[in-house]
Amino acid sequence: MMDALGEPQSVLVLGGSSEIALETVKALPRNRLRRVLLAGRPNAARHAAVESLTALGIIGVEAIDFDAKDTASHGGVIDGVFDAGDIDLVILAFGVLGDQDAAEADPSLAVDVATTNYTGAVSVGLHVARRLRKQGHGALVVLSSVAADRARRANYVYGSTKAGLDAFAQGLGDALHGSGASVLVVRPGFVRTRMTAGMPEAPMTTNPQDVAEIIVKALRKGKETVYAPGPLMYVMGVMKNLPRPVFRKISEKQG
C-alpha cells in the first residue's frame, strides 16, 4: 500500500533495464519499499539493474521474465505479479528507438518498433489496468515522449508509436479516473541514455536522473501529464501548432 506520505511498498518496472525507470526507483522514497520487480528479457542489462538497486540497499529487488512483443504471455505475467501481493506503482518503460533509415527500406523493422512500443504497451497496459482496478489503488507511469506531440521526418516511425501510446495512456487514465488507480503520462525530451547515445543533443537535453525526479514529484502531486523538463510543455505547445512547412524546416535543421 502507498502510505499517506506517498511512500510505496511495491514497484513493478516493465522494461526492467530502462535507465529512466531505474533512476525513478532510486528517486522514490524507499523507507517502505520492500518489493521491486524488474520485468524484462533475461540479459546482462537486467542483471546489472538488479545489482545496482540492491547495492543501494533497496530490499526485495527481483528480476522477472517479460517480453513486450509476446502479448499472449502478458496476462499470465501480470496476474502472477499481482497474485503475490498488491503493486503500488507500475512503470511502463520499455521501448525502442529503431533505425528510421533502415525501417523505411525494410518495413518489417518498423513493425518491430510498433509492436514493442505500441502494441506491447497497449496489451500489458490493459492487463495492468485490470489488476489496479481490482485492487482498488495504484499508479501506472507511462513513459511517452515529446515525439508523441509531433512526428518528425527523422524518426516518425518511433514518433508515431509514441503518439499512439500517449493517446492510449491518456484514454486509460480517463477510464481509471476516480477509481483509486491512476495513470501518469510522462513526456521527456532528449534524454542522455543508451538509446540516444551518439546522437546530437537537442536543446533542453536532460539526464535520466532529472526525468526521475520530475516523475516522483508528479506522482506525489497526483498529476496526470508531465513534461521533462517542465518548460518543454510550452515549447511543444508551440511546435504542435506550427504550420507544416515551418515545422519541416525546423526539424530538417535539427536533423
Binding site: 506520505l5 485492487q135 482498488g136 477509481s179 483509486g180
Partner: protein
Amino acid sequence: MATKPAKKSAAPKNPLKRDDNERLLTGWGRTAPSMAHVVKPGSIDELRDLVAKAGERGILARGLGRSYGDAAQAGGGTVLDMSAFDSIDLDTVHGTVTAGSGVSIDSLLKTLVPAGYFVPVTPGTRMVTVGGAIAADVHGKNHHVEGSFGSHVHALDLVTGHGRVEDLAPTRKAEHFWATIGGMGLTGVVTKATFDLIPITSSLISVNTVRCPDLDSVMASMVENDDTYRYSVAWIDSVSPSGRGVITRGDHAPSAQLDAQQALDPLAYEPKVVATAPPFIPSGLLNKFTVRAFNEAWFRKAPKSRQGELQPIGEFFHPLDGVQEWNRVYGPGGFIQYQFVVPDSAGYLIDYALKRLREVGAPSFLTVLKRFGAANPAPLSFPQPGWTLAADVPARVDGLGAVLDEIDGLVAASGGRLYFAKDSRQSPEMVAQTYPRLAEWQGVRDEMDPRGIFTSDLARRLSL
C-alpha cells in the same frame, strides 16, 4: 427513441467498468484513497451472507470514517456500511445500554443525556460509531482513571469469518473478546454491544482551566493533579519552543451547581454545528504563519486560571465537531495525525518530538497531550501508562517521513507505540516491535477468520 440494441451475452465483463456500489474511500486525513464496493446489510442474515460470499479482496466494516489513515478502507474489497444496525436499548436498572454497532456516540448522547446518562468514554469527536469505538478501543479524557472504551464493554455480538454470530464477553470466550477490542475490525463484524454508562445529574461539565508557560510546567501539573479529576487534557502550543499549554480538567457538574436558569432543564443537550469548512481550500492556506496565529489566539483565549466554569458537553469534549468537515482545512494534500504513547520514563520525547516537527517545518494545527492510566487485556489496544501526544500535520511536507521515522525509532526504543486509528505511515517493522503481542493476536484472529477475509488497507500495509 430507438429500441435498445440486444445485449451481447457472450462478451466478457469489462474489468475497467465501474460498479454502482463502488466508492473511493479515505480516512479523515484524506490521504491514500482506495476503491471498494460499499454495501449496506439490513439484517444479521444479510450480513452473514455477505461475509460468506466475501472474495479474495476481503471485507471490512466501516463506521463514520473518522480513523485518520487507512483503517476503514479495503481496496478492491467489500466495505460494510453498518448504519442499519442502529438500535439503542437503555437499561436503567443496570445503568447500561445495548447499542447497534452503527450507532454513533452523537446519537447515543441525544438519547442518553436527557435520560441522565453519559457514555463511559468519548474520543475528541462524537462522530464515531460503537463498532469503531470497539475496533480502535478508543480513549478519552478520562483514560488516566477509567481506561479505554473496551474496558467498559460487558458483551458484544460478532459475526466471525465462519459466518457465525459469537456472543463474546470478558468472561465468555475471553480470547476472542479481547482480540476484537482494539482489533481494528479484523476479527469480524460487531453487530451490537452492551456497555456501562456514567450516571449524570446535569448535561454540563464543571471545568477548571490552567494556563502554563512551558511544557515542563504543563507536565508537572498533570502528574501532580490529574488523578483528582475524571477528565483531563492539555493543549500544547506546538509552534512556540517553550511548549506552553492550557490544561482543562473537569467532571460532570452535579445539578446543585447549576444556576436557576440552567436548573430548569439540567439535562438539556443540544450540540451545535456552527460552521462547515468550504469544499475547496487552497493548499497554502495552512502555513507557518496561520498556524502560529491560531496557536497564539488559542493560548490567549484561555484564562490564566479559572475554576468551576460550566461548559456544555460539546464544547468540552468535542470542540472540533462544531466545524463540520474541518479536515478540509489541510487542502487537497490531506494531513496525518501522529499519535504515540511513551512511558513516564520517556516523557522527554514529548519535547523532542515537538522540536523535530518544528524543525522540519510541519506546523501542527492542534496538539494534544494526555496522561494514560492502566492498559486493558486487549493485545492490540493502544493505551498503556504514560504520556500520549497527538499532533496534526499536513501530509505534504518535505522530509516529514524521515523525521517521523526517527521519532518512531525513539518511541519504540522507549517501550512506546503508535495508535492504529491515527496511523497512516508507520512501518510493519515498527508494529512488530512495539506491539509485542501481535503474534498472539494473529493466532487468535486466524482461528476466528480462517479464510483471512477480514482485511483493510491498514492491515495490508502493516502486515497485520
